[in-house]
């Protein structure tokens, strides 16, 4: 947390021109005492770290799943990647059996298709599906 504070402060202090830079500098100036206060408070409290390795791994895996899905959107298309995401999620997190997981994932994709493609006419990246 302290390191993170330092990073934020480092980014703040430079001016990007008198006019446009005015507001950022005001923000930066305001940020200093607040950050200092928090650093002091953090030191005196001697808090435990807010997360441990196990939870970080779970959350990291979740974020990675999101990232892979988004990366796939432009390659396989929105519907396919969202379907794969749901399937993986239900199998790995929900521990559903294959038939139920497939059915639920298909249902999700169908709902997304009906709402966003047919009703709202959102132009999804169609990817490999001929839609």
């Amino acid at each position: 947390m302290l390191i993170w504070q330092g990073c934020v402060l480092g980014y703040w202090v430079h001016l990007s021109g008198p006019g446009p830079g005015f507001f950022p500098v005001v923000l930066g100036v305001l940020l200093q005492p607040v950050a200092a206060l928090l650093v002091l408070a953090g030191r005196s409290a001697g808090e435990k770290p807010a997360w441990d390795r196990g939870s970080l791994r779970a959350v990291g895996a979740g974020a990675l799943a999101f990232a892979i899905t988004i990366w796939l959107v432009n390659r396989l298309g929105m519907l396919v990647s969202v379907g794969l995401y749901t399937l993986a999620w239900l199998r790995l997190v929900g521990r559903y059996r294959w038939p139920r997981a497939v059915a639920l994932a298909a249902g999700t994709v169908l709902a997304v298709y009906l709402i966003f493609v047919l009703w709202l006419r959102v132009p999804f990246p169609s990817g490999i599906l001929p839609l």
Binding site: S16, P20, F23, P24, L27, Y85, L90, G94, L104, V112
Partner: protein
Amino acid sequence: MGTWSYLWQGFLSVFQPQHLLFCIIGVVAGQVIGALPGIGSVSGVALLLPLTFGMDPESAVIMLTGIYYGCMYGGTVSAVLIDIPGDSAAIMTGLDGHRLALQGRGGQALFMAAVGSFVAGTFAILMLTLFAPPLARFGLRFGPPETAALMLLALTSLGWLTGESAAKGLLSALLGLFLAVIGVDSVSGRPRFTMGVVDLMDGIPFLPVVIGIFGITQVLLWLEERTDWKVMEAKLGLRAILPSLQEWAVSKWAIVRGTVVGFFVGLMPGAGATTASFLAYTLERQSSRRAHLFGKGAIEGVAAPESANNAAAIAAYVPLLSLGIPGSATTAVLMGGLMLWGLRPGPLLFRDAPEFVWGLIASMYVANFLLLAINTLAIPPMIRILSIPAPVLMSIVSVISIVGAYCIDNSVFDVWLALGAGVLGYFMHKLKMPVPPVVLGLVLGPDLETAMRQSFMLSRGSVAIFFTRPIALGLLIATALFLSAPTIGGLLRRRRLAAREAPADR
């Protein structure tokens, strides 16, 4: 035209079949979202905002208000029956509500909450009808310095009211303001903090961040905890849920007190329904003759916070509609949505788009009635929806987050932003930094900057402009008080502790 004829026009507009339909969809969706543990009113509104893009603004905002409002009712259901508040505004309800459910009086708790919510909501809408227009006229006299001071007040008060530490709240607000700075500067046209990324030139779009910070964060937090829930069985036919006369007697004043507390807390920029319900519960326990029953199943401990959160939810619309300052995270999201349609909440809205404002206000009356009906007559089917397993719910939330973030601007970059915001939100939760100030900072940032710059242009660079105009000065003094209150409070507490310890040393 006076207030009442405008309101009449508003009712005519709401009763158009299309608007009425969206109002119904909204309250039902809100009720469900509010009841589902894990997604609250902010995430509900944020996730469903993209769905409204195909509608005309009036239907959209009617539906979104219905969702917000339905959440206030819906959160009660899971708080009472599962002991997981579906919405943070229902945390206090769960304390006594779940005890009542364990004693087999869950139905009564729900019924009383619905009645309390209805009374409080109706009162608050009436107050909104009466006081928002004059406040908006007052707001028209605001120049840039006043606007800037008002926004500062909103940002600082939200900071210390929502979190445990004022400094963390302020840091969140500053973070939000910083995100708002990214992009091309509107005056000089120079890009700021874009790190050369072309997609960032337009600035950080508001909705993907909100979707990420509420939707995706929720999924990540759930992945860490992996909690599942079980709905309690309860008899919920209409006859089985009518409270006894004695329960009415003790709840009557709790509802009135909760309503008043809720309304005034909700009016304050920054203090939303959650704060209101906390205060109402505390007040009720202090003023009650049966204080020993609180926490063990006192029905007035359900009635008071439930009335308060509904009154506050409506009250938050007063500053939003009349001054353009959102009173809570959810209204901040709504404001972001309204701006997408080119409707700027604020004093001008009453003058320029009266049909819109009054349609919205009229829809609240209607939504309130609908929700009273749903929550007294149709609780059993609502509860069936609650039995959806947590993993399935979370996968739905993630899919809506991805698709929703995409279809705001048909941009995959926005989805990446949402993911970034989601990870940011996760760490903020872990560091116990309140999230609403970020949202508020992001919404208000551009306006605050413009207002400040205009002020300095008016005054040719002198800071005095903020101190010589009475309204601005008053607002700044209030801001200073808000900022110093926690520090002074902390000092007093420390002195009292020291005083208590001193004799012990001797």
